[in-house]
Amino acid sequence: MSLERHRNILDYTLQALLRRKFKNIGIIIVFTSMISILGSIIFLSYSFKREATLILNASPELIVQRVMAGRHDLIQISLMKDILEIPGVRKVEPRFWGYYYDSLIKANYTLIAANEAVLRDNRLLKGRLPDPQENNVTAIGKGVADARLLDLGDMFSLQSADGRWIEFKVIGVFESESDLLTSDLIIISTRDFKSLAKLPDGMATDLLVSVRNKVEAPTIAKKIKERFPDTRPLLRDEIIRTYDAVFGWRSGLILICFIGALTAFIILAWDKAMGLSAEEKKEIGILKAIGWETSDVLEMKFWEGLIVSLTSFLTGIILAYLHVFFLGASLFAPALKGWSIIYPSFRLAPFINPYQIATLLAITVVPYIASTIIPSWKVSITDPDELMRG
């Protein structure tokens, strides 16, 4: 019987909401879009952060770069011997990489020299990587392949530092699933890289240092800095921290863009909830006059808040999920893309943090219900006769 009573009150509440359907549907639409935007920002930044932390854990432990007059410069390979003498250092190897501006399509590529010809059975690479001593072959990212309409076996040319055009045969293309890492890459052999960039002998872009115990990495970085003051050691932890900061900033910036809309909604909800209209006061007066208890009126208002906020929350969260993980966060893409010509297709893994969803629920649904009930409680303890007279 008791359950039936609650259902009757819910039936009445829904009927009352339908009586003012344009106003209430309007509130639900605005509330839903606010939640879907907030939810999208949460999903997007959390997925990026998780993906970056997981993948970049495999990045080099310690990179040593040379700084000359405050700018990144080529480093002498001979330093490798001195760094190797530092206790705790396991291995030091040179890294060759740089950029290539393609004036044909006005895009920047990242050139990387392959040190080792592995990735033989990698599912994300169609074909293979060039061998370190192999000439005129390349493996390219999907973004480069799409921009230059290339596929396995095709030829394309790059202009070397002395103006010569060097032809390369495409022997590998990265699959689009690896776009977030490989979209703009052109992998060539070390020998080709040196002749393309006219790299002086005995120089490298930077040095990679492997340590025996990763806990010692900061100490080794400090020692390198002390022994070679013109170098800049970069730790893996710093790389991961950078991405944490980048995504925190990006999501914060997108949030700022929507802060105006969010404030407008808060004002709308506040205005609607805090002051009951004369019609609503009269309705409460009539209900009390025909025998409704104060608790019944409060229950009705509780249902009213719950219907509006829960409907908006569930719909908003579903829309946010679809927007980020099915539509590739298309609303936010312009802010993230910048002027990039080659840009990865977003295929984010749907990492979801239940704690963040619970927080979103707590900061949207609960205050809305509370701000609907509190003013009604004030009205419902007033004399019905006074309420009906207005």
């Binding site: 819910l10 829904l14 993906e51 970056a52 993948i55 970049l56 854990n57 990045s59 080099p60 990179i63 700084v67 405050g70 700018r71 990144h72 890294r95 950029y99 895009a107 920047n108 990242t110 990387i112 392959a114 990735l119 599912r123 994300l124 990587l129 990212g141 990265f174 977030l180 890492l181 490989t182 979209s183 890459l185 992998i187 990679l208 970069l234 710093e238 790389i239 900061a245 980048v246 925190g248 900033w249 990006r250 910036l253 219907i307 409907t311 569930l314 719909t315 579903i318 993980f325 993230l336 893309k337 910048g338 002027w339 990039s340 010509i341 840009y343 990865p344 749907p350 990492f351 979801i352």
Partner: protein, 123 residues
């Protein structure tokens, strides 16, 4: 048995059906996420292999300038390094955070504008 038309259902029943439908969609999406993530776990081994082999340090989020392509490899002042007097013009530069300088504790001081009583010069 004849199924009741939606028109004759109580409004509360319709509301509960709507909420149940939404919750079901959320549950389906969560299950789908789980399956995508487990598939992604397999792919991640390949991604990690690529990162390890090519010694990658950055994700391809923007390719418009070298300091937005490799934020971890650039200098602290990299947003202004293209050529002398160049202002930072890439939109991506506005969504990459500047370094944290709070520990340095520097402040910009603005002094009150004063006119010298004896010479009348601005100070």
């Amino acid at each position: 048995m004849k199924i009741k038309s939606f028109k004759y259902l109580r409004k509360s029943t319709l509301f509960f059906l709507f909420i149940v439908l939404n919750v079901a969609i959320v549950v389906v999406l969560l299950i789908k996420s789980g399956s995508i993530l487990s598939e992604h776990d397999n792919l991640r081994k390949d991604l990690e292999e690529i990162v390890r082999t090519l010694h990658l340090t950055d994700m391809v989020l923007s390719t418009d300038a070298r300091y937005t392509r490799h934020p971890t490899q650039s200098d602290l002042f990299s947003a202004f390094q293209d050529y002398p007097g160049s202002i930072e013009h890439f939109p991506t530069g506005s969504v990459i955070a500047p370094p944290d300088f709070t520990s340095i504790g520097t402040f910009i001081k603005v002094h009150k504008f004063q006119r010298s009583a004896t010479t009348g010069e601005h100070r």
